[in-house]
């Protein structure tokens, strides 16, 4: 177990300090920012999926009262530096890079591609201005599917690439693929599709850029998962020193991977502010958010599985195609993560993996909560389909294939150790929570009455943050930093690069610091969202529980040691005899000696100590994740399918999960439920649909359907005992797991419900009409 001192707060559902402002209506989101002289931007966007821009005439727009400026793609090209997307720049990727201008100059590559930005006294006027900009387009044939893009003769989306294959085909092998397949009792083959869907946070993208000519500083009020990545991106685009960019972020209305770095629109707005010398605000509306902000998950897989007659999954050979849309951001990096994760917690002996990435005239592929999630979908679907072929129970086949928890830990064939993975335990616990034999009885009885219930299971692991990285390989992403300071008012300040957008870091990190340092929870303040105050860091990849929880724990200890050294001088005692309880430094066993930590801080700042005393009550700590670890779990869904209408009701959903030690159970459970809801939404409701001409069809909330309170049942969550890996830090992330494993869980349940019809499911999106089609196909 963790060694946290006192543990008064850690492990308990402490009420969030954020809620005091959020529930009073006093949250500060980027659209709440108002600056004197602020202007508003709206983007003129392409109505075509693919076209040449022949001419842009903004004269009528510029003449409209209230319009301050219209900047075309060419205007912006002249005032910025062309470069890759900031996220792409940070995590690299290799492979050919598409070349394009900030806003479209000669080519538009998706419906909604920004062609010009209109800056006006109000958003209303800016939209009026957009209607007056005249653009001559020449239609070009759009490339709207991966299949079309794979044809090297298809019209190239990017002239400099020559064709639309941005991630050329490559193959890796792990283990003796040929041997394992040759020796297997049977080979099963499947084609699996995951459909395009998207993040859809309730707050879209947006920013206020404010350039101050006197200081040469560009201040960016942003909604971002990391202020420094945004800062680097803005600086690079504007061609200025990163020290001349300050990024501020307040409350953020969700992101799920969307708001990282800076989008083309945000960079254009920054450039516009500099050109005009006035603050410029851009807040994307819902139609922009759905059409162009980015989409995810459009991947297809050809899978061969080498299987024994008793249900051992011996090997997988997988070939995937990923549709990265236009303006590649990070889609080309997803296949390698999928490759690494495909074996999951199973004893897979061989893996062959190949991938190809294409660009198309659709929205860019962006990170969406568990970007590699398809590896779990593929693996869990394959296991289920094999189980059906062999007449095995879904729990039974998984338990058979789970790698045993050994010491040293079993290795995934792709190279990572399955340290502390509790898949077996989660499956067994899940089976206890869901009385499967009782369900099977009920299922049979209901089938006799013409009602179709089904049960589905799936299991997953996620690297949250994953096992300890080999020495020195982490880079800036391999650690989290924190600056901790005891202020003169007794407040313990934590400066972190974490950028909460629902995760409650201002509460959870304060819990850890309060316990470790010895002050009441209310005496800790977590400072986020100012690139001049916080060290590098970002929120994403389910890293913060371990990385930032850990740096908080260790940093608080270091700060406490400094404070006790100074307090020892004040109390004329040995630091070893001192402790901090409830914000008071006290000599152990002698309560009359208590002095508040604020007093220690004031004395330290007073200058009374000589140079031989370190009276600067501030530390800078870093933490690389310690032993790290996997999170994971097993989920089960019970559904009812109305076979006359295709409507599916999720009747019951149970998750047995293991994320190590919980900092704040309510926060953990909120993350899990939210992820599961997105997974249920993906299967039953959400699809980013395009027609043959590349017109986007899910551009309002009447067509892109999000799950509501009537679609998500009460989700039951069981937390497993952790397998402690580290002496101190055993919190692991849970941000992405729900969204990773819920889709195969629900698909599996639907397939089970439709078993009497002989239905097998090889896709993830099952709206009512599709369910009736699947049934009819078997008839």
């Amino acid at each position: 177990m963790t060694q946290i001192a006192a543990q008064r707060y850690t492990g308990s559902s402490v009420k969030r300090s954020e809620d005091l402002r959020i529930l009073a209506g006093a949250g500060r989101y980027v659209d709440d920012v108002k600056l004197p002289g602020m202007l508003h931007a709206a983007f003129l966007r392409s109505p075509l999926a693919h076209g040449r821009v022949l001419a842009v005439d903004a004269s009528a727009a510029r003449a409209l009262p209230g319009i301050v400026a219209v900047l075309t793609g060419t205007d912006l090209d002249d005032m910025t530096v062309r470069g890759p997307d900031p996220l792409l720049a940070m995590i690299g990727g290799g492979g050919p890079t598409a070349e394009y201008s900030l806003l479209a100059t000669d080519t538009v590559r998706l419906v909604g591609d920004p062609v010009a930005v209109v800056i006006a006294e109000s958003r209303y006027l800016a939209e009026d201005g957009c209607e007056l900009v005249e653009v001559d387009y020449e239609d070009l044939p759009p490339v709207v599917s991966a299949a079309a893009a794979l044809d090297v003769g298809s019209p190239p989306v990017f002239a400099n690439l020559g064709n639309n294959i941005i991630g050329p085909h490559k193959r890796s092998e792990f283990g003796d693929v040929a041997g394992v397949f040759a020796a297997a009792d049977r080979i099963a083959e499947f084609h699996l599709d995951v459909h395009r869907h998207q993040n859809v946070p309730m707050e879209g993208r947006g920013c206020v850029a404010s350039y101050d000519a006197d200081s040469g500083i560009l201040t960016m009020y942003a909604a971002t998962q990391g202020v420094h990545i945004t800062r680097m991106g803005v600086a690079a685009c504007l061609g200025i020193d990163p020290a001349r960019v300050r990024v501020l972020a307040g409350d953020i209305g969700g992101s799920f991977g969307l708001k990282i770095g800076a989008s083309r629109e945000e960079l254009a707005v920054a450039a516009a502010s500099r050109a005009l010398g006035r603050p410029v605000k851009w807040i994307e509306d819902r139609s922009e958010n759905l059409t162009v902000s980015g989409q995810a998950r459009e991947e297809s897989f050809d899978v061969r599985a080498a299987v024994s007659d008793s249900g051992d999954l011996l090997g997988l050979d997988v070939s995937m195609v990923i549709d990265t849309g236009a303006y590649p951001v990070m889609g080309t990096m997803v296949p390698s993560i999928i490759e690494a994760m495909l074996p999951g917690p199973y004893r897979l002996a061989a893996l062959g993996f190949e991938s190809t990435a294409v660009v198309t005239n659709k929205a860019s592929y962006v990170a969406y909560r568990g970007p590699w999630a398809s590896e779990t979908f593929v693996r869990e679907r394959v296991i289920d389909l094999i189980a059906k072929d062999l007449g095995l129970d879904p729990f039974e086949i998984r338990l058979r294939n789970v790698a045993p928890r050994t010491s040293p830990p079993a290795m995934m064939i792709t190279g990572r150790p399955l340290t502390g993975v509790t898949t077996r335990e989660s499956l067994e616990r899940l089976a206890q929570l869901v009385d499967v034999p009782a369900f099977r009885h009920r299922q049979a009885a209901e089938r006799a009455r013409g009602r179709y219930l089904g049960i589905g299971v799936a299991t997953f692991i996620e690297a949250a943050p994953g096992p300890r990285a080999p020495e020195g390989s982490g880079g800036p992403l391999g650690q989290e930093s924190m600056r901790l300071r005891l202020a003169e008012d007794g407040i313990v300040l934590l400066f972190t690069g974490q950028m909460p957008h629902g995760q409650g870091h201002q509460t959870t990190l304060a819990q850890i610091a309060a316990d470790e340092f010895g002050v009441p929870f209310e005496q800790v303040r977590v400072v986020v969202g100012d690139s001049e105050a916080v060290p590098f860091g970002f929120t994403g990849g389910s890293r913060s529980a371990t990385m930032t929880g850990g740096v908080t724990l260790h940093g608080a200890r270091q700060l406490k040691a400094k404070v006790l050294d100074v307090a020892a001088l004040l109390l004329e005692a040995s630091a070893l005899d001192l402790e901090i309880t409830d914000g008071q430094v006290v000599v152990r066993g002698d309560p009359d000696t208590a002095i508040p930590v604020a007093e220690v801080a004031r004395q330290a700042a007073s200058g009374r100590f000589g140079a031989d005393v370190d009276a600067n009550l501030e530390v800078e700590a870093t933490f690389d994740g310690g032993e790290g670890g996997w999170s994971g779990g097993s989920h089960c869904a019970i559904v009812e399918v109305d076979v006359e209408t295709g409507l599916v009701k999720v009747e019951r959903y149970v998750a047995a999960e293991d994320c190590g030690a919980l900092i704040n159970p309510a926060v953990v459970e909120g993350q899990i439920r939210g992820g599961i809801a997105q997974g249920i939404g993906a299967v039953l409701l959400e699809r980013s649909a395009y027609d043959r001409d590349g017109n986007y069809q899910s551009a309002t909330f009447m067509d892109y359907l999000l799950p509501t309170a009537c679609d998500i049942p009460r989700i039951e969550i069981e937390h497993l005992e952790t397998v402690p890996l580290d002496a101190d830090v055993n919190f692991r992330g849970v941000g992405e797991g729900g969204m990773i494993v819920a889709p195969p869980t629900v698909v599996s349940a639907i397939e089970d419900a439709l078993a009497p019809f002989g239905v097998r499911i090889y896709e993830q999106h099952l709206p009512p009409a599709r369910i009736l089609e699947l049934i009819a196909q078997q008839a």
């Binding site: 958003r123 209303y124 939209e127 359907l705 709206p767 009512p768």
Partner: protein
């Protein structure tokens, strides 16, 4: 998604409103609840030169019963009709449909007349009006016209209201004794527009169906009466087999459109299922209401 400019007029009387319509004709849109019109304005799909806000015309709101007919003012808010005991007693099919319209906040502002004049074929009220042969009373400078439901709905978002006319009230027949109703929908989510919806009403006397009304939403560009199925049902005793036959007849008449949410074939299958279920529910409701 900000609204475009328009000239804004707020008539103080129905006569003033009519005068504005006479003056501006189809350059003007009437703003009632705004729950359908304002989204269209926000998306800049609707571009009226003049917006005539009639929310102040209290004369056009209210429920009254005379001579076997229920008259509902066009500006009656959906939530008020939902809470009206008179509506529940006299037009139970309308009472069954109202709670399915969107969500509570939509019904706070949305009006009966607004929904019926907007005439979205996937909406609930047009199907109810069609099922019950409601009458639409419109007024212009030339006087009043009464338009039966069968002639009111002309096409997608199109009614036979002339540009200079305003809908002032809608009249429904008072339900006969022995009537049971059901309004059922297959929608992607609770509160959404239906992919297919069914307004069903059965009147029973001595165990025999004396009147049957079936009207679909979502299967064409207007609400559709299933007249062949209705004539099959009249004079018969309710039974599962009868309802199945009616379902088959009703669905067989349909040629529904396809869209993102369902194919034509899907809608036909769902329509049939709704008829079976709706008729059973209406029959059950007839027993409950006795």
């Amino acid at each position: 998604m900000k609204l475009p400019e328009f000239e804004y007029q707020v008539p103080a009387t129905v006569a003033e409103a009519i005068g504005l319509l006479a003056q501006h004709q189809d350059e003007a849109s009437l703003l009632a609840g705004g729950q359908s019109l304002i989204p269209l304005l926000a998306m800049r799909l609707a571009r009226p030169a003049v917006l005539i806000d009639i929310n102040g015309l209290d004369d056009l709101s209210g429920v009254s019963v005379t001579d076997g007919r229920v008259t509902i003012g066009a500006l009656t808010r959906e939530y008020m009709a939902e809470e009206s005991e008179t509506v529940a007693e006299t037009v139970p099919l309308l009472a069954a449909a109202l709670p399915l319209i969107g969500h509570e906040a939509i019904r706070s502002r949305g009006t009966l007349g607004g929904s019926l004049a907007h005439a979205d074929p996937a909406a609930e009220l047009p199907a109810v009006a069609r099922a019950l042969d409601a009458e639409f009373v419109v007024r212009s400078e030339s006087g009043e016209r009464v338009i039966p439901a069968a002639e009111w709905f002309e096409g997608y978002l199109t009614t036979s209201r002339r540009p200079e006319e305003i809908l002032v009230e809608v009249r429904f027949p008072v339900a006969e004794p022995g009537t049971g109703v059901a309004f059922q929908e297959v929608a992607r989510r609770h509160g959404d527009f239906a992919m297919v919806g069914l307004a069903a009403s059965l009147t029973l006397a001595d165990g025999t169906i004396t009147d049957a009304r079936l009207a679909f939403s979502g299967v064409a560009d207007v609400p559709v009466r299933a007249v062949e199925a209705e004539s099959l049902l009249r004079g018969q005793q309710p039974s599962a087999e009868l309802f199945a036959e009616a379902a088959s007849r009703a669905a067989g008449q349909l040629d529904p459109p396809a869209d993102l949410h369902g194919s034509s074939d899907y809608r036909k299958k769902v329509a049939a299922a709704l008829v079976r279920r709706g008729l059973q529910a209406a029959a059950d409701n007839a027993h409950e209401r006795q």
